[in-house]
Amino acid sequence: MSRYSKVVVLCEGRQDEVFARTFLVKCGFMVARIRFVVAPKGIGSGEKFVREQYPKEVIAYRSNRNRIQNSLVVMTDADVIPVSGRMKYLEDKLQDERQNPRRPDEAIGIFIPKRNIETWILFFMGQQVDEDTDYGHFNKQSVCKPYVEKYAKSRKQALPDNAPESLKLACSELARIV
């Protein structure tokens, strides 16, 4: 087994990172084998950072996948546009860089919580949520950990009907990674 990164997580911020790390570790990945590429905290948009970085990470994935069994996890908020709209932004960006669209056999998972990652976390915490409300940030990102771990443990079970639609869509992406 290679000792170097096997999963690259490209995400908008620290909350996404904690969510992804907690989930992946619970699924059996070693934290030392996960590489995080997180948008720097500043005045710019995390979404734009992910969109700009996405083709570069896809190129890196594709050019190394024959040598290294790796995978790419992308996390970006849908915000106020549909999940399909955010997905199209990423596809268009690939096309702009003259890259082929994602193929089904590629371990590239794109996770787009709507409205944002806090919506999913609050759902895991047992709250009734909708995908239009901006629930704001948690004071501590680690608050999500026990709930994400619980979800990761039961990930093979079907989600309840009241789960956010964006989370249901994410389940098909999950199959590419774990």
Partner: protein, 368 residues
């Protein structure tokens, strides 16, 4: 947790104030005053811990060169016991005689006094803030350091204990010995005594087990640590498992590479910080590490700090560490032009720069 420091008239720190979160990254050019802050913390820890007399710890050469004032001021704010402690130390220097004495040492909890040491006289206050004993005391020692635990001074002794948990280190694997003659309960500045400190920490079986488990993930082939006794000494060995055999081979700690020793030290420090609730001041931790080893370690430390299980103040110039940590607002930029005092401001990364923050720093564009 350490919340604030104020320093006046110490090297380049003049009327200097800094507030801390659970993790902070000190950034800035050489000579900007980052290490001076660590030095002050180390000195205060030593003084309050009773490790020496005032003039052994605070040297008159540390007075700010361009000032004529002979008094240095240090303040610490520490959060704990559901309140805020404020500690103040004023050091008065006799330049010609190369001497120093305590002008005043004050400690309060939630703005109510616990100890006042002025004019060579200590005034103690009990936990219920009633007036306690008054007695003369040596001008060259910390009055706080001399207080031993009693049922009515738990607030004061908690502070003393908490300050003793500040550790300031700049690990240097080349200086670490693999032989231990005795246990040490604190690491030395360059971790020269790492093996003896590990002996102390590993009395807690949980520590040894968890460290072994972590190192098996990050150090290929690593199995476990063992001590070999030879006379009064112990030799520290790291055992590595053979790929195809169910056996391991022991290497003396000194036989490991600098990078391997550094990796072991950093994960041991991180775990110790978690278990002992240290405030860890770590100067250039990434030295000697291979590039893929930096992020997994800093992820672990960051997570502990974010969960308030630890506090870490880091100095680093490494892009890997800078770019990871600055995804959170934890950066503090130190700067100093010419012979002027150090000034600090939070690092705000411009989002549209097109290059990582570390690259902005390398180009000198961050604060332009």
């Amino acid at each position: 947790m350490l919340k604030r420091i104020y320093v006046d008239n110490y090297k380049c720190l003049v009327n200097f104030e800094l507030t801390f979160g659970s993790i902070c990254l000190f950034l800035g050019p050489n000579g900007a005053g980052k290490s001076s802050v660590f030095e002050v913390l180390q000195n205060l820890r030593s003084f309050i811990g009773g490790e020496g007399r005032l003039e052994q710890i605070f040297k008159h050469t540390s007075l700010t060169r361009w000032q004529t004032l002979h008094i240095q001021t240090f303040e610490l704010e520490v959060e704990g016991n559901k309140g805020i402690y404020k500690y103040l130390l004023k050091v008065d220097y006799d330049i010609e005689g190369h001497k120093a004495r305590v002008k005043s040492e004050l400690l309060s909890y939630n703005k109510k006094p616990l100890l006042r040491f002025e004019q060579g006289e200590v005034h103690l206050y009990r936990d219920n803030h009633s007036v306690g004993p008054v007695y003369p005391f040596d001008w060259h020692l910390s009055a706080v350091s001399s207080i031993f635990a009693r049922p009515d001074n738990k607030l004061l002794t908690w502070f003393k204990e908490q300050v003793s948990q500040i550790i300031v280190v700049q690990p240097n694997p080349a200086l670490m010995t693999e032989i231990s003659e005795t246990e040490f309960d604190m690491p030395s500045y360059h971790l020269e005594n790492f093996v003896s400190w590990y002996r102390h920490l590993s009395q807690d079986q949980g520590f040894a087990i968890e460290l072994n488990k972590t190192l098996r993930e990050v150090l290929p082939g690593f199995d476990a640590f063992k001590f070999e006794k030879s006379g009064d000494q112990y030799r520290f060995k790291a055992h590595f498992r053979n790929e195809n055999k169910n056996e391991s081979v022991g290497y003396g700690f000194g036989d490991l590479s600098d990078g391997q020793r550094m990796l072991i030290v950093l994960y041991a420090l991180t775990l110790a910080v978690k278990m002992q609730h240290y405030t860890l001041c770590l100067d250039e931790p990434e030295n000697f590490l291979a590039l893929p080893e930096i992020q997994p370690w800093i992820v672990q430390l960051f997570e502990l700090c974010e969960q308030d299980e630890a506090q870490a103040l880091l100095i680093s110039h490494h892009p890997e560490l800078i770019d990871y940590l600055l995804a959170s607002p934890v950066g503090l930029w130190f700067e100093r032009s010419g012979n002027l005092p150090t000034r600090v401001r939070p690092v705000v990364a411009p989002g549209e720069s097109g290059v990582p923050v570390s690259e902005l720093i390398a180009r000198g564009w961050l604060n332009e």
